[in-house]
Amino acid sequence: MNGLSLLGIRLDPVVLRRLGEQFERLPDFLGGHILLTLTALLFGLAATVPLTLLALRNGGLKGALLGGASIIQTIPSLALLALMVPLLGQIGFVPALIALSLYSLLPILRNTVTGLESTDPALLEAAEGVGMTPVQILLRVRLPLALPVIISGIRTATVWVVGTATLSTPVGAVSLGNYIFTGLQTQNPYAVLVGCVTAALLALLLDFLIRQMEIGVLGRSRRRTLMAALGVAVVASGALLPRLREAIRKSDAGDTGPTVVVGGKAFTEQYLLTEFLTRYLAREGFSPQKTAGMGSSLLFDALANGSVDVYVDYTGTIFANTMKRSDSPGRAEMFRQMSDFLRERHGIVTIGKLGFENTYALALPRARAEKLGIRTLEDLRRFAPGWVIGGDYEFFGRPEWTRLRNRYAFRFRNRVRMDAALMYDAVRRGQVDVISAFSTDGRIAAYDLVVLADERQAFPPYDAVLFLSAKGAEKAGLTEALRPLVGRFSDSTMRTANRIVDVDGGSVREAAAFLERTVLSGGTETPQSVSP
């Protein structure tokens, strides 16, 4: 009953604790966001100067430039961000920066050109008549008169870029989007809330400050202009927050080891593994940097080109997506061929299997399965024609589904596509009869579902494998530090960890702590454990 009341809403201690957990990451995410947006705006502004001069000189070029900027604007921002990765051959800050700079161009360029061109012709004649040179006319008459329009373009661009920067998480740049993407995937409303509210506040604050600067300039209030500029400078200095934190961490920890970039995809299990690996490597004396929530193929490319050092992928995924293989040569052979391929083609080191598998599997409530005597997919065949199968958005388009139907000659009455997060609940409530589950999902245990045995091996193995980039392999001690993790995970460990987040509403951090306790305890002892 001892809660804090805020705006009439009683905040109980659990809510406060959850929010508090999120705020711990704020310096990194907010600092990254500020650095990204302000640099992008500076680039956009810098590019506007020569482009505007070109546009003013040549009417045809003006149309082309403004048209080009408009076309950039029509590209969905997420696609533009993703497009930069293959174009630049790297992930992280640079592709996000370039995409956002391009994105900021239209409002700034359009308003600058329009503003400069809309000078009253009578004033232009007056300026010419008093003996101003074309440059003086531009700087002393056209520019000051266009300033309000130009500044409003900058404000528009600022709000856009602050918002769009939240989408740069999948290309590996740190921003407030990390809160939002992680929060959506791990069903953590606190993370989403903190990310959205902070981004909105940042946009409003910058908009307000730039507006004050505009009023200050127009009203010739030097004090107001200076105060607003100081405000922007204070916000900009927020970009140093991660550095500051890093410095404090370093001075606390003394000497730190080489930097290791830990990557991860955008679903709960991957967020947990990314967090786990980051913490593990920090304990092992490295300086890990986390880029969680990335797109699957972007992440592999990043590993191949060395911008990510370590991440966990699955044999079936590499086999199908990277090696473009549709056959299934069996578990051991698949692993061997994959390791050889990655080593020869990309210099990637396969550290080893972690010991659990996250495959597709068909699942239904245990009670119903037992009542009907269904234990294997073979047993399911009899009931399929009268049943409805639910699957995530991509399942029915994947080769696994084709192979499943071919090997078992399944014919279901109907199939329903739904969000992966909803289908577990749907099968529990009987809205569908059977679903395409992920074998490590925490909801299998939580909802008391049973996974049917796949005797004919329709589903290829999806063993979780730890990979190390060619660059990472050169870092002293890194390969050795990762090796003890091989074989230490199990399906049930992972299922429980996923459950902590997906079912019990715990944080990624709590689940990662559980993994640490379970995986690192007993058996072979971890070298150089935490020093007090």
Binding site: E125, A127, V130, G131, V141
Partner: protein
Amino acid sequence: MIRFHDVSKAYSPQRFAVLDLNLEIAHGQTVALVGGSGSGKSTTLKMINRLIEPTSGSIDVNGTNVLRRDPVALRRTIGYVFQGIGLFPHMTVGENVAVIPRLLGWSSARIDARNEELLRLVRLPPEDYLHRFPSELSGGQRQRVGFARALAASPQVLLMDEPFGALDPITRDELQQEFLNLRRTMDLTVVLVTHDMTEALLLADQVAVMHEGRILRMGTPGEMLRSPGHDYVAALLETPRRHLEALRRLTGRESVSHPGAGEKGETANERTVPVGNTA
């Protein structure tokens, strides 16, 4: 001295704005170019400071052909009062007045002194007006600033393009009188463009009537009134003449001695008409 020698301006081979214009304006004179729209009077004016370039012919200002001078440097030596005033809205009164001195690189002490002098000259106390913006001034005050700006760098030549066009009659009259006063104290050659014959007769030493790119008639106001010499000129003179006659009739015993009272008389006329009707 300003001399036009066989000056033509064509916007297309068939369409001449100004055709074979020859004109001499003696030092210290005020010449009014009068005519309707499209008569070429503004084009003639703007060719003096090369806002418009002549197609052929030459224009000398103080003995030098303007076409051989750098247009930017030339314009800084010629005062220009613009149609519609043309003050820069983002600059204060002081900054507007100091535009040319600043372009010429004067010291700020010299600029401040000149600003003060000029604002007193156009009767805008600098302590009240120096830091105001044009949007805070009345139309008449703005044109006073326009004058001050044109005179800032002590030009020998002043060009005025419909300078009183945007003002109400009372303000216009007041400024016209002040212009005459200023003229007497300053050594200036003035070219004034106007469509208002009364204004031309009032302010100029010489009136040149332009029509379709040519000067139809040129002479002193007195000469013009005595012998228009051309139907078009006579028609233009008809308006001030009619006003004069009307005023004579209305005021009766009081004679109106010179056309300069025309504008004032007009407002008096408007006031007296209703009285006459009720009487």
